[in-house]
Symmetry: C2
Subunit: 177 residues, 2 copies
DNA sequence: TCGCTCATGTAACGCGTTACATGATTCG
DNA sequence: CGAATCATGTAACGCGTTACATGAGCGA
């Protein structure tokens, strides 16, 4: 599944501009999917060229014009077909865990720094999840996905905190700073 | 951090061929990092060209020759410098969660299928983690990373099982099959 | 004999990331 | 006055994924 499909799906919530879609991505599923303008704008152009979405320029006062896209009937049909066929993947690519695996090649201060950074990252994502659940309406899947993310992140944060000393000691065995 | 660095780091465990490195990746951290031959072999060639590793052809009986690589002093220096500087990322890209978020666009049978598949995937990864912890020696980071992975995956599996009905019902609200 | 494992690579392709380019308005 | 927000895009680059090409043993 690519950014194109995700944009198409997002537009089932209502008409939006590329900028708004990006904001929505960040607020709603930044913890499991990321996309930048460099992916979103071209995706929207492609979708429009295929007739799956249609865009209209809207003038705003005090703000730049925006191009608001809405999904077409053809787009809806295509979207459902795509979601029904595609085998969904779940990929994790953690350079953080690679570093933890090779902790014995790091010094203690560096390890502590990396650990702190990861904890902060998790906390930020948890805060975003709390916020989106509190303030925004969404499809039924929203609370499920938020719950999944919260459970995952809380478990990881808890693990990092409880084993902090073990992590830091992984460095001392082979590497006396 | 790219596959090059990961290969370099892996060679600190001892000399290995590209094929063996791939096997090692799969056994040890398939749950948080993936790499195919198309990345590994070129990475090894590059590293050799830079003098960070050195490879020797070894004849085997009953099996094809292999090119065994070992890390050089320059490689070790570069590796430690790289690991000390780089800001490690932790990325998740889950098409599965995207699908769950848009569950209302799916029918119940499809949702059940997707859920089952994800559960199976998690079970496979958990089995791999158990195996690598039982049978293989490794650096101190191994048990930490394995524990992190197990905690994460068990939480997710538990969440999927406990909320299965809620997931399946997310489809019925808007979409009576 | 069929298919799997061991073994090494290349080449094209797809896709996302990053940087760049531009510009009005609002808030501190 | 400077920074942030709103707003849209392009272009190059990097990197991983996939498919392809080849080939000898071994176990069912």
């Amino acid at each position: 599944m690519d950014v194109r499909t995700l944009c198409l799906a997002t537009l089932t919530h209502g008409a939006m501009s590329g900028y708004q879609i990006k904001r929505h991505f960040e607020a709603t599923f930044s913890h499991f999917f990321g996309a930048g303008y460099g992916s979103i704008y071209p995706a929207l152009s492609d979708l429009a060229a295929e007739g799956l979405v249609r865009g209209e320029d809207v003038a705003q006062d005090g703000k730049p014009d925006k191009r608001v896209f809405h999904i077409t009937a053809a787009g809806d049909t295509r979207l459902r077909a795509t979601l029904a066929e595609e085998a969904p993947r779940h990929k994790v690519r953690s350079e953080f865990l690679v570093l933890m695996y090779f902790a014995h090649l790091l010094d203690r201060a560096r390890l502590a720094e990396v650990l702190d950074e990861r904890e902060r990252g998790i906390e930020i994502q948890l805060a975003k999840i709390d916020e989106v659940e509190r303030c925004c309406a969404g499809p039924p899947g929203l609370s499920l996905v938020a719950g999944f993310g919260r459970a995952t992140l809380e478990t990881q944060l808890d693990f990092l905190r409880r084993h902090r000393e073990r992590f830091l000691d992984a460095t001392d065995a082979a590497n006396a700073t």
